[in-house]
Amino acid sequence: MIRVTLPPHLRKLAQVAGEVKLDLEGPVTQQSLLDALEARYPMLRGTIRDHMTQKRRAFVRFFACGEDLSHEPPDAPLPDAVATGTEPFMIVGAIAGG
């Protein structure tokens, strides 16, 4: 079981409270995790990754186990702690004033 945390705006959009829990088959990568997240919550398509390029949106970052994974290749394996559900995969919106 994979644990994912969403920023407040996206939690509201997906109508979820707290962490999202996903079951994944096969390798756990950014891409497979986000594919599974969007399949379960279709309204999140286009909000984390661009619809067409599938690239991470500019003001969205990915963190896990105290590391910034935003610039890791989408098909690189995520840390074991994420794959086993010990640590959450954190989707974070950039901090901004206003």
């Binding site: 705006h9 279709p42 309204m43 398509r45 286009g46 949106r57 003001f59």
Partner: protein, 395 residues
């Protein structure tokens, strides 16, 4: 019992203001989509309970929201949570926030470039929806004006969107250039007497008309004079801020341009200036009285570099003669120290008798007049900056 519902889009959420036909006591909703930029909300003329809303953010992109109960509840009209996102044959199901420029050989045009601010070529990039225009007759058909400028249409209640690519692919598209707010398609007007006729306007390309339901388009900017562009009378390149029409007289259009208030009596084929005695003819919003096709409202703004009312006095100007002769409407509006702006989509009218006129400001006030502009009062004073105001007259 008649009533009024005012749909207000702001920089930090949407608000719904309701009143009975007297328009004296108002109920202000708590924010819908709190924290998101709400560029526009509009109700379907075919069913007032059907509302469409444009929700966007720089972080998370564009979302389409729909209400089927007059704004009590909202949902994204695409595939619901937990449902398969592909049909049994493998084709993707509806994704309500997916806006893809049409480059198909059959209907689209090659996705090339438009001009950037400095005149260099810049690729088209979808950013957000500025304006939603529901069909006059079919509650599931709705048009969306987007940035970078293009026109999209949904015929399934907002689940899926297709570009009307003949507009962006119009011959002059590569020369279009953004205004300061972005290259936005902000005005969509559907002709109530001719289902094939659509008017749109783009900052800063100008006005365009289709006479075949959106397949092909032609620029309608003859008579516009913009001294701040290289060719002041160019066919395209004018910064049109807003166009308004009275439904009883669809061949007559009123335009607030960057500078100049204009009028066309031939469906945009030619324009004449009607700024007349306005103290400044810069502005954004313009609208027409619900029952008097020659009564027009504008809110003059000091200049293109000072986006606030002249002399700190918030004044709506009304012409009862279709332009040129304007009177200041001030009763109930601040006449000192007022430095707000009124944006292009932030003025609307109801169709009660007497006609109600409404506008919102970047200072968060929504003002209403229940007597065609003679007297004004704020419905609410302290919203986030108001981007859009639409009104539904309920029976």
């Amino acid at each position: 019992m008649s009533g009024v519902r005012v749909l207000v889009g702001t920089r930090k959420g949407a608000f719904i203001l309701t009143s009975d036909g007297q328009r004296k006591q108002w109920e202000v909703s708590t924010p819908h989509f709190a924290g998101w930029e709400m560029y526009h909300l509009k109700g379907s003329p075919a069913d007032p309970n059907r509302l469409y809303a444009s929700q966007s953010s720089s972080w998370f992109g564009q979302i389409i929201q729909r209400s089927d109960d007059g704004g009590k509840t909202w949902h994204q009209p695409g595939t619901p949570p937990g449902e398969p996102t592909t049909a049994p044959d493998g084709t993707p199901k509806g994704e309500s926030n997916k806006f893809v420029y049409d480059t198909s050989p059959e209907t689209g045009k090659a996705l090339t470039t438009h001009q950037w601010y400095d005149g260099t070529a810049h690729p088209w990039e979808f950013k957000r929806i500025w304006h939603l225009e529901p069909s006059l007759t079919d509650l599931d058909t709705v048009y969306a004006g987007v940035e970078d400028a293009a026109l999209f249409r949904s015929t399934d209640g907002g689940q899926t969107w297709q570009e009307l690519a003949g507009l962006r692919g119009h011959g002059s598209g590569s020369s279009w250039q953004p205004g300061a707010g972005g290259m936005c398609l902000h005005t969509i007007i559907l002709d109530p007497t001719n289902a094939n006729r659509i008017f749109i306007a783009i900052s800063s390309a100008g006005a365009f008309r289709s006479d075949d339901a959106g397949k092909t388009w032609k620029p309608i900017n003859r008579g516009l004079h913009s001294q701040y562009i290289p060719d002041p009378t160019a066919e395209v390149g004018h910064c049109v801020h807003r166009i308004a029409m009275h439904r009883s007289r669809p061949g007559v259009l009123f335009m607030q341009k960057h500078w100049d208030v204009m009028r066309s009596d031939d469906a945009g084929d030619s324009w004449q200036e009607i700024s007349g005695n306005l103290p400044t003819d810069f502005g954004f919003a313009i609208d027409v009285h619900a029952h008097e096709p020659d009564t027009v409202y504008v809110v003059p703004i000091k200049s293109d570099s000072e986006h606030f009312p002249l002399d700190g006095k918030l004044r709506v100007y009304r012409s009862r003669s279709g332009g040129n002769e304007w009177e200041a409407l001030t009763k109930g509006l601040p006449q000192s120290d007022c430095y707000v702006n009124v944006l292009r989509d932030a003025m609307a009218v109801d169709s009660l008798d007497k006609c109600g006129v409404y506008f919102g400001t970047t200072g968060g006030q929504v003002y209403a007049s229940a007597d065609a502009g003679d007297n004004w009062a704020p419905i609410v004073r302290d919203l986030p900056p108001v981007v859009s105001v639409e009104v539904q007259t309920l029976s």
